[in-house]
């Protein structure tokens, strides 16, 4: 099965300028070499990336966090150890387990918490009732419900050269999509855009050659 690596790397690099859900050093037990190796881990959404060094342009690897079990491992040789157990190919339990360890109790707690809530499915489960509640409130108030933005530009939070980004992608996307946006558009245009987009132009040629 071919995973489109470009789409994954694009996701990884594109949000680089934006704070991830969790990041930091974790010790990772190798598969062949069973010693622990220091890696920089970055959690964004339901994807957990690990890098050799924090500033690396390309991750060493990726762990997909859907239907996983994250458990503390007491009695391991390393303190603050935990395991991410991924499903088997057929979806049943007992697939690959990633043995990891944090550097202190605080980090362990932060990671366990972040990983527990990372799955897409959980986010979807949070989103549905909120959407329903909003519609009900609008109906009760006799108000026309508006829609949240659907294009990726709205997902950036760090303040940046909004104008540049909007010119670069905004018009093109809107023209392509013919997206009808409601009253929300006015307030959306005030939201911040990421520096990442500015970096993309410079990194474009590097991006293609780095892809493996």
């Amino acid at each position: 099965m071919k995973l489109n690596r470009k789409s994954v790397l694009s996701f990884f690099r594109g949000y680089r300028a934006q704070a991830p859900d969790q990041e930091g050093i974790l010790l990772k037990k190798g598969t062949r070499n069973t010693s622990y190796q220091r890696r920089w881990f970055i959690l964004r959404g339901n994807l957990l990336f690990y890098l050799e060094h924090q500033a690396d342009h390309t991750p060493l690897g990726l762990i997909l966090l859907e239907n996983c079990q994250v458990e503390q491992r007491l009695g391991a040789t390393e303190p603050y150890a935990f395991t991410i157990l991924t499903p088997r190919a057929d979806g049943t339990e007992g697939g690959r387990s990633y043995k990891l360890a944090a550097e202190n109790q605080e980090e362990l707690g932060a990671w366990l918490g972040a990983l527990a809530g990372a799955s897409w499915r959980q986010l979807a489960a949070l989103l549905s009732p909120l959407e329903a509640q909003y519609r009900e409130l609008c109906q009760a108030a006799g108000q026309e419900p508006s829609s949240p933005p659907e294009d990726f530009l709205a997902t950036f939070t760090t303040p940046s050269s909004f104008q540049e980004l909007h010119e670069r992608y905004g018009k093109e996307i809107q023209a392509l999509q013919g997206v009808q946006r409601g009253p929300q558009e006015a307030s959306d245009s005030e939201s911040s855009r990421s520096q990442a987009e500015g970096e993309q132009g410079l990194n474009h040629s590097v991006l293609l050659s780095d892809l493996r």
């Binding site: 390309t58 762990i63 997909l64 859907e66 909120l130």
Partner: protein, 157 residues
Amino acid sequence: MRYNEKELRALSRQPAELAAELGMRGPKKGSVLKRRLLKLVANFLFYFRTDEAETAPCVLPQPVGALLLERCVVSQEEACSFSLSFVEDMDRKYVFQCDSERQCLEWTGALRRASYEVMRRSLVFYRDEILKMTGKDPLEQLGISEEARFQLSAIKA
């Protein structure tokens, strides 16, 4: 960049948000339209061969490929077809042929909403709206209102 294919295969076997046989053409020049079984699961689009029904029942069908639906642009091309491309390389398009306009609209909407980041943004949107309308933060009851990953609105002017 390493990844465990089994994790993806496991996901491809999960219940799909949408699944249908569509025509699909890859982004490479000279690609031909092929009939594929498309399956939208979480923020991934899996595509399978459509002749899997002929394989032995004990053999699990494996996807031919998977696309991560983040930072992508889904555009209507014609009445019954749409394209998918990634922001960094918008000229490279995956093109999909639907059986009807209705099906096309169904897929374009679902694919756009599948992105984790778009969903997160939507969650914050609804949270903010509900807070405005009721004075209460709906995420507070769940004990997660303070989590950094839902603080998008804090940055807004």
